[in-house]
């Protein structure tokens, strides 16, 4: 059981990361990753939706007819997103005013339908909730990294406009990384998003290749040792 959860955690955060490996949900990912704070906002809203939709779909998985599962998933996801949007507007209005525009974007995030189909519809509620949380966390991590990359290159700062999310006291969260920076507009505009994501995916692949090479090398070494002993 714990082994299953470990696999889910590793899959969501790294091995099967929705943004870096499955390459799902690119529309909102590329559109709203121009600053760390924007990335954090969309990441949080996506995480919430993923957990809720995975949980509900897993709960009803024995009642959803196979032939019409996709329309059912879409209905469930759309109504969850609407309910989240309304609740946020009612009880977290300040936050809603900032994240409000991102929330309808979540419906277009196929990572959510993807997890419903690939995981929630086939697993018990517990693992489905963890999968939703981990996939959401993995997606949010990429959003935040890409946001940081684009914000540093684009305007030479980090955490600018944090007060939009954390209130007035967060105005001082802003860190100026490069003094008197003139800005590099392309990083903030859509091409910067594509290039930035490409670089992050490449970095992940490099790390993975090195890892595999190391494991193979050490295995070869052990085998060599073993045969020498024999």
């Amino acid at each position: 059981m714990t082994e299953q959860y470990q696999t889910i955690i590793r899959d969501g955060l790294w091995k099967n990361n929705p943004a870096l490996v499955q390459l799902l949900g690119l529309c909102p990912l590329l559109a709203v990753s121009n600053t760390v704070i924007n990335g954090l906002g969309l990441g949080f809203a996506t995480l919430l939706t993923l957990v809720a939709s995975n949980g509900l779909i897993s709960l009803f998985r024995h009642h959803i007819p196979d032939e019409v599962r996709l329309p059912v998933f879409v209905m469930i996801i759309a109504s969850i997103v609407t309910a989240i949007e309304l609740s946020m507007s009612a009880w977290f209005h300040e936050l809603y005013l900032i994240l409000g525009i991102f929330i309808p974007l979540i419906v277009t995030n196929c990572a959510i339908t993807g997890r419903a189909e690939a995981f929630a519809a086939r697993n018990a509620v517990g693992p489905a909730l963890v999968d939703g949380f981990m996939m959401g966390l993995g997606f949010a991590a990429v959003l935040i990294s890409l946001g940081a990359l684009r914000e540093i290159i684009g305007q030479g700062t980090l955490f600018s406009e944090a007060h939009l999310m954390f209130g007035e006291s967060a105005r001082y969260f802003k860190i100026i990384i490069i003094e008197d920076y003139r800005g590099f507009l392309m990083a903030i505009l859509p091409p910067g998003a594509f290039i930035g994501l490409g670089l992050i995916v490449a970095l992940k692949n490099v790390i993975d290749t090195r890892q595999t090479a190391k494991i193979t090398a050490s295995r070869d070494a052990t085998q060599a040792d073993n045969s020498a002993l024999q």
């Binding site: 121009n34 009803f60 009642h63 959803i64 007819p65 032939e67 019409v68 329309p71 059912v72 209905m75 469930i76 759309a78 109504s79 969850i80 609407t82 309910a83 309304l86 609740s87 507007s89 009612a90 009880w91 209005h93 005013l97 684009g154 305007q155 406009e161 939009l164 800005g183 507009l185 903030i188 505009l189």
Partner: protein, 213 residues
């Protein structure tokens, strides 16, 4: 009825059940949040108005004391606009309304403009825009304080020829790499001031009662 038909029917029924279920979720949430959302929106609007015209300057219920104005070329509006009217003991103090700069770099820029009875600007804020991040978006008060320089100005201060960006011989700064955006905003503010001057008397005349519930 053969088995295939029965199967199709049962699938259709299940689909209907899920449709009813998810619609109910939305309906229940909408019902539970409706009043709170209306309240929040009212408060947000009031906050926006009070930034332009401080609450101590008027004592009427400004959100109910409104006037609808039909779309007009002078404000570049395409839908009816609401004018909020501030009064102190029944005396007209200021009018707050939205105006549109149609010629931003990336389309329309919507402004909220407050003008005192004297023709002086109480203030201007950009409500929505699609200007380039890092360049034209400095018109947004959250990005720079450029927009706050208009408070206290009027059609006679500065004189008409100075109501332009420096590049066009006026007195207002343009942004590095972005002239079109501030030019559009300045023109829209000037137009709104003209509109106010021409319609000042009628703007405060009719009283409408509007209830938020």
């Amino acid at each position: 009825m053969n088995t295939i038909q029965k199967h199709i029917l049962s699938i259709g029924l299940m689909l209907a059940v899920f449709a009813i279920g998810s619609t109910s979720l939305v309906v229940i949430t909408e019902n539970a949040t409706r009043d709170k959302i209306a309240d929040n929106e009212r408060q947000t609007l009031l906050n926006a108005i009070n930034i332009l015209v401080p609450a101590v300057n008027y004592n009427n219920d400004i959100l109910s004391d409104t006037l609808e104005i039909v779309p007009t070329k002078a404000l570049s509006t395409t839908t009816a606009t609401t004018v909020y009217r501030a009064r102190q003991n029944e005396h007209a103090i200021a009018a707050i309304f939205t105006s549109i700069a149609p010629n931003g770099y990336n389309g329309k820029i919507t402004l909220l403009i407050g003008i005192y009875q004297t023709g002086e600007l109480a203030g201007v804020r950009v409500i929505t825009h699609k200007e380039t991040p890092g360049l034209g978006d400095k018109i947004d008060e959250r990005k720079s304080n450029w927009i706050t320089q208009f408070s206290g100005l009027s059609l006679s201060n500065p004189k008409s020829s100075q109501w332009a960006v420096k590049k066009d011989g006026g007195q207002f700064d343009q942004f590095t790499g972005a002239t079109i955006t501030p030019r559009a905003v300045i023109q829209a503010i000037k137009n709104a001031l003209h509109y106010f001057e021409q319609h000042q008397n009628t703007l405060f005349e009719q009283r409408t009662e509007k209830h938020y519930d």
